[in-house]
Symmetry: C2
């Protein structure tokens, strides 16, 4: 049965690199959203806890509930958190309306738009937000921003960083004037973390924990991809030159050879290789995935019992003109995980 | 919260069309594999049962176990079925080796390669297969083939159809000579079913049940897509001309307008729209999904509380140069389903 193997030592190595850069692990919060970027929410939560992580970020309450006993602080980025959910699950608030309706005891983190113009209240609303927070005696845990240029750098990155710093200062000043305890503050993702020399805030480590960094930065840290994807052989056929394989028979044998089918397909979240796909997509040891891929299997000119599709998704991401995140998060949560 | 709405009346309509074509419903078996092609395994199993379906096909034992109380016959296409699994779950056998090792009491269906050269034993092995089946007193439930040209038609389709007929005749003859009861036989998928005038075998209805047919056939049946995908607004911003949105700020406002973010992204299985994506991808009512899509949200120039991404995935399939199956099966199983 196909498996995603998780290398726990590579994960530890990545966390150590990040902690060393931060000069401490206490501010390292891990992003486990979208099934831990396809790596398996529970498996990665288990490893994160073993490695001393206390704060994590997930997609929504559904994910948070699955790991609520693992961590001190769990923030659900999207959607509401139910009244009866454990108190260590925090909701994210992106509008003033939500500040007006959230249960006062529910811990929450306020997202402020620093220029990405996607989620969060605008800077202009901060004053009103804190008036509501103070008046309704809300349980403000954190304030955060998200920089839309972490991977690109340049002037936009700096502008959003300086907006973020301005937001933080305003939050400090508003807390003082309302006599509120200071919330935690976070703004940096993986690339932001490695761009800065030190950080007193929490950093939200996503991709770097899993072994990748999409940003072009000086002296990139030697992160190690932690997941490799494996498929098992279903069966083999010895075919003659000219025989066709799969849907539409678009692959035709160039010579007499053995072909085998393996138990992963586009229904497992892989991009569907077909005859219009430019170039050859190769498995980790060079076997070509023959077009067309089926929903639950693919064929290749191999007799191996087990084949490794990738140990590093960057090749696949380049091939499909996308980013490692997309290849990883599309992996079906039902692919078996095994932690080594 | 984003939802996939399932139209139970459209599903009933599709099943009725298929039954009318078959002149009976008794041979209609439904394919529920890969989370019912992304529609939700349990939801679709419930609807299928309500509509009197008795035989279904799923991906593997993991899927079969979730719906084992719903149907008389459940066939898992891939992988082994455990010894302690309920007896109405059948394993598929694609090699002679598996025939030698499968638990004799476990019901199974034998796949025979009719020329797709993907899965199944070769025709040449049929005799050996039945020798093992008879000798080990195996519990043979069915024999099936899969035509790789159902959507393309042409000479290859006919050749595989005639191979399939030859396999059936050989199975009948082998059963007679080994004094074995005749197994059920199945070869047709959705397009094969509508191509033929009648069928005494079981037909495996996949895509047509969900409202689509990829094949070009004369007088296509008026199937109705049963799923529509909806996202909810996270928040809105009034932006000025020139302001940028999202990662890398690749979308720049052409005029002062309101932009909103909605709670679906490529981490939910949508294809990631980005600046290299050719053309504009539109929601059902014409709103453009602005590049770049994020993992958990996308932005569009709208203020709607709820937006419909599609009611018919064929547009998205054409846009991404793929087939409806891929768009559907990639939808995250964690998107909430609601049956209407």
């Amino acid at each position: 049965m196909a498996e995603l193997l998780i290398n726990s030592q590579a994960f530890k190595h990545n966390l150590n690199l990040i902690s060393t850069h931060l000069k401490s692990q206490k501010n390292l919060a891990l992003v486990l959203k979208d099934n831990a970027y396809g790596h398996g929410l529970k498996e990665m939560a288990g490893l994160a806890r073993e490695n001393g992580i206390e704060s994590v970020f997930v997609k929504n309450e559904f994910e948070a509930l699955q790991i609520c006993h693992y961590f001190k602080h769990i923030t659900a980025f999207y959607g509401e958190v139910s009244q009866d959910a454990p108190s260590n699950i925090y909701q994210c608030v992106q509008t003033l309306d939500t500040l007006g309706s959230i249960t006062p005891t529910r811990g929450f983190e306020l997202e402020v738009n620093c220029g990405m113009n996607r989620n969060g209240i605008s800077v202009d609303c901060l004053k009103d937000a804190f008036t509501i927070i103070a008046k309704r005696k809300l349980n403000l845990i954190g304030v955060f921003t998200h920089n839309g240029f972490g991977d690109e750098g340049g002037e936009d990155l700096k502008r959003q960083e300086s907006n973020s710093e301005r937001i933080r200062q305003e939050v400090v000043s508003l807390c003082t004037s309302h006599n509120l305890p200071l919330p935690r503050f976070h703004a940096s993702n993986s690339s932001g973390t490695f761009r800065q020399e030190s950080c007193n805030d929490i950093v939200r480590i996503g991709l770097a924990g899993y072994g990748y960094l999409c940003a072009e930065i000086d002296n990139p840290p030697p992160l190690k991809p932690i997941a490799s994807l494996w498929a098992d052989r279903i069966c083999s056929h010895t075919l003659k030159k000219g025989e066709k394989i799969g849907y539409g028979g678009v692959w035709q044998m160039q010579e007499d050879r053995v072909v085998s089918s393996y138990d992963l397909g586009y229904g497992d979240g892989l991009f569907r290789i077909h005859e219009h796909t430019h170039g050859k997509l190769l498995c980790d040891e060079g076997e070509q995935i023959l077009p067309r891929m089926s929903m639950d299997c693919f064929s290749t000119l191999s007799e191996k019992e087990r084949i490794c599709l990738f140990r590093d998704v960057r090749g696949w991401a380049r091939f499909f003109d996308t980013i490692p995140y997309e290849i990883l998060t599309k992996l079906s949560p039902f692919i078996k995980k095994r932690v080594l």
